[in-house]
């Protein structure tokens, strides 16, 4: 089994390096095919591992090499594949394979085709390290690795010019990439502090050893570690207040959004909380805080999605919202529920993004949904896929989201946190509304795309076939819930509903489905028959403007952090760097130059004067020696 671990881990690396060989060359079709096959190999290896662990129930551990052995610090480059890891691996490699195959279509006319695949595979490799590592340090390496790849891929079209915020909310891809990177950096500091605290208190970073002794620590220290690690998770999973980068990250190519900013990287924070469940089980108050924050983000992001007209941003906000659901579940102690929603969400959200990619291609990169409409006729398959994705996202039976989201609501109910339950329930309705608002705006109604002169076309067949596994997963994953529970609870703590909740399950399910259906119906009534814009409402309604401008948070960040920081930097540049640092460096250089100029006269080519100088030096030294002797 160990060889499968290595295949799953290193096939993406090989793939990335192979693509990197051609990075500077024009498009080589072989690169796309080869990387897809290699990532596919990682998928096969992951599935084999999944089946094996299902059968034996034992984790597979490999130790690649000693990594850092300094003093008391003895960290191995070790990897463990247990139940949680293998679920993550399968999800990551499945989505990655689909995205790689799909990218062959999506990027087919991009001049940096090969570079794209190199980055994409490098991302998969980093993500595999993140989920497979058996210690916090390896996790952190993967954590940073996905951050770098995310930065590279968001800024993939780095040559695009900066624009004002009115034209493009995220200004430009390179700006968005930097924003994502810097936001993550802030959060990673918290994560590092958490890791330091763990090492400082326990002297080890290996999960098994850390969690075996986690109970020995004082409660305050546990709270500190829990919060520090969660700050790291907040950055990667774009939780409030570090959420702005995720929507701006939509500047990257759409397959990237599907892979990184929907299915895998942003769920790393959830993975971290799930992985550290022995820690968070000890500090339920922090867990409750996480749940509240997650709930807040769920409705906060959903509200922004209600009014946004940008096709990809709507999906991005919905991702944010669903991440909020996952944190709510994990924070309340239902770790397997969070993991289940993570896996299900990965499938249907990637499906939605890839569908959005098809639409973008058809519309010549136009993202404003108000300029689309009626695409159902020309893009039947894409409509089908996006419909499935939206139904799953809305939580309609029998799609995946129904099972996972419903369970989260049940958990919230079961914990007697009715406030959380109510907000999440409301969010479910909002989710259904904005997903179908999107579907109806894009695929139904009048054909507004004629105005911008687009000639929509369906994606190539192989791209559509590539999406099929995701669609199948989005439809069927829910039915494997029982198996899933049995499988992961060998590793994760079980979560039992109380009897009271058991009785309520049917009622809860019905009211949740009702609110979702209400959302869909409202969306249908408002948008399906064609777009009737109420410009006055859009311009004058305060709430609409607030939501449309993302609660003005990007502007506030700009005013509160970016502007003063720039002014501070200006002062540091003009006052400190130019006046002090540069001046002293220049002064030294000038002194050396002047003294060299002055002493040049000594080099007159006359041996005799050289001898004089030499004798003077000799006498000087001798006199010093004589004085030293005399003093003695």
């Amino acid at each position: 089994m160990e060889s499968y671990v290595y295949i799953a881990l290193f096939a993406p690396l090989v793939s990335s390096l192979f693509a990197a060989l051609f990075a500077q060359k024009p498009k080589v079709q072989l690169v796309g095919i080869a990387t897809s096959i290699l990532i596919g190999a990682a998928l096969v290896a992951s599935v084999i591992l999944l089946l094996d662990i299902e059968e034996t129930g034992k984790a597979v551990s490999v130790n690649l090499m000693d990594w850092i052995v300094v003093g008391d610090l003895d960290t191995k480059f070790g990897f463990t594949v247990d139940q949680v890891t293998v679920i993550m691996m399968t999800v990551v490699t499945l989505i990655s394979t689909v995205v790689h195959v799909y990218s062959n279509y999506y990027m087919e006319s991009d001049k940096s085709f090969n570079r794209f695949f190199s980055y994409l595979s490098a991302f998969v490799f980093s993500m595999m390290i993140l989920v497979m590592s058996d210690n916090f340090l390896g996790l952190f390496i993967g954590w940073e690795g996905v951050g770098v790849c995310s930065w590279l891929l968001i800024g993939f079209w780095y040559h695009k010019k900066d624009e004002t915020r009115d034209v493009n909310p995220s200004i430009s891809p390179s700006w968005a990439a930097n924003e994502a990177f810097i936001m993550n950096r802030i959060a990673d500091l918290g994560m590092l502090v958490g890791i330091f605290l763990i090492y400082w208190n326990l002297g080890t970073l290996k999960y098994t050893e850390v969690f075996a002794h986690i109970g020995d620590l004082s409660h305050a220290m546990l709270v500190g570690i829990g919060i520090a690690l969660f700050i790291g998770a907040m950055g990667k999973s774009a939780q409030f207040p570090l959420h702005t980068w995720l929507a701006d990250a939509m500047e990257g190519p759409t397959p990237v959004s599907a892979l990184i900013h929907a299915a895998t990287m942003v769920t790393a924070g959830v993975y971290l909380v799930i992985r550290a469940n022995p820690l968070y089980s000890q500090i339920p108050e922090v867990g409750y805080g996480i749940a509240v924050l997650g709930t807040f983000v769920a409705i906060f992001a959903a509200s922004m999605a209600l009014v946004n007209r940008d096709l990809k941003r709507v999906i991005a906000y919905s991702t944010l919202s669903q991440l909020g659901y996952m944190f709510a579940a994990a924070g309340l102690g239902a770790y397997w529920v969070a993991l289940f929603h993570l896996a299900a969400h990965a499938a249907f959200k990637a499906l939605l993004f890839i569908g959005a990619g098809n639409v973008m291609h058809a519309m010549h990169d136009e993202l404003d949904m108000f300029k689309m409409g009626g695409l159902k006729k020309v893009m039947g398959w894409t409509f089908l896929y996006m419909g499935i994705g939206s139904l799953a996202l809305s939580g309609i039976y029998p799609f995946a989201g129904f099972f996972s989201k419903d369970t989260i609501l049940e958990v919230a109910f079961n914990e007697h946190t009715y406030g959380i339950w109510f907000v999440l329930w409301l969010t479910a309705g909002l989710t259904a509304f904005y997903s179908f608002r999107q579907v109806f705006l894009v695929f139904f109604g009048d054909e507004r795309y004629h105005e911008i002169g687009a000639h929509p076309h369906e994606a190539k067949p192989y791209a559509l076939w590539a999406m099929a596994p995701l669609a199948i997963a989005a439809v069927t994953v829910g039915f494997f819930k029982e198996d899933f529970v049995e499988f992961v609870t060998k590793f994760l703590p079980e979560y039992e509903m109380s009897e009271h909740t058991e009785h309520m399950v049917v009622i809860l399910t019905i009211i949740t489905t009702l609110v979702a259906l209400t959302g869909i119906v409202v969306a249908y009534l408002k948008y399906a028959k064609g777009l009737k814009r109420d410009l006055e409402f859009e311009q004058n309604n305060k709430i609409y403007k607030l939501l449309y401008n993302q609660y003005y948070i990007p502007v506030i960040y700009d005013r509160v952090f970016a502007k003063p920081y720039k002014e501070l930097s200006d002062i540091a540049w003009k006052e400190i760097d130019m006046q002090v640092v540069d001046a002293s460096v220049d002064g030294i250089a000038k002194f050396v130059e002047k003294s060299g100029d002055a002493s040049r006269k000594a080099q007159n080519g006359n041996l005799s004067s050289y001898l004089n100088w030499m004798a003077a030096g000799l006498v000087f030294i001798t006199v010093i020696a004589a004085i030293a002797v005399a003093v003695q």
Partner: protein
């Protein structure tokens, strides 16, 4: 036998300084060579005196090797002097400033 070591050393210091004065004062390369020989001899005197004073033959051995080095130096140096004289027609340092930087 009276111990003359200090006197010897002082003599050597004086001779050395005479040599140094020659090196500094003279501009003729040949005279510089003579002055160098004086300085070498001065050190030889000091070596020999200390060697005898301490009853250790190392000093005398060192003086011996210095003499050998001096002989080699003269052989090569004179050859070079002759070349210089052939080429420039002078041995005066003030006229030999091809190394001017």
């Amino acid at each position: 036998m009276t111990d003359l070591t200090t006197q010897y050393l002082i003599l050597s210091a004086i001779l050395f300084s005479i040599g140094l004065a020659g090196v500094l004062r003279r501009k003729n390369l040949l005279m510089l060579f003579f002055a160098t020989e004086i300085m070498l001899n001065a050190t030889n005197v000091a070596f020999a005196a200390i060697s005898v004073h301490l009853g250790d033959l190392s000093g005398q051995m060192f003086a011996l090797f210095i003499i050998a080095v001096a002989a080699s130096e003269v052989a090569v140096g004179l050859g070079l002097l002759i070349l210089i004289y052939k080429k420039y027609g002078t041995l005066d340092l003030d006229n030999l400033s091809i190394m001017k930087g």
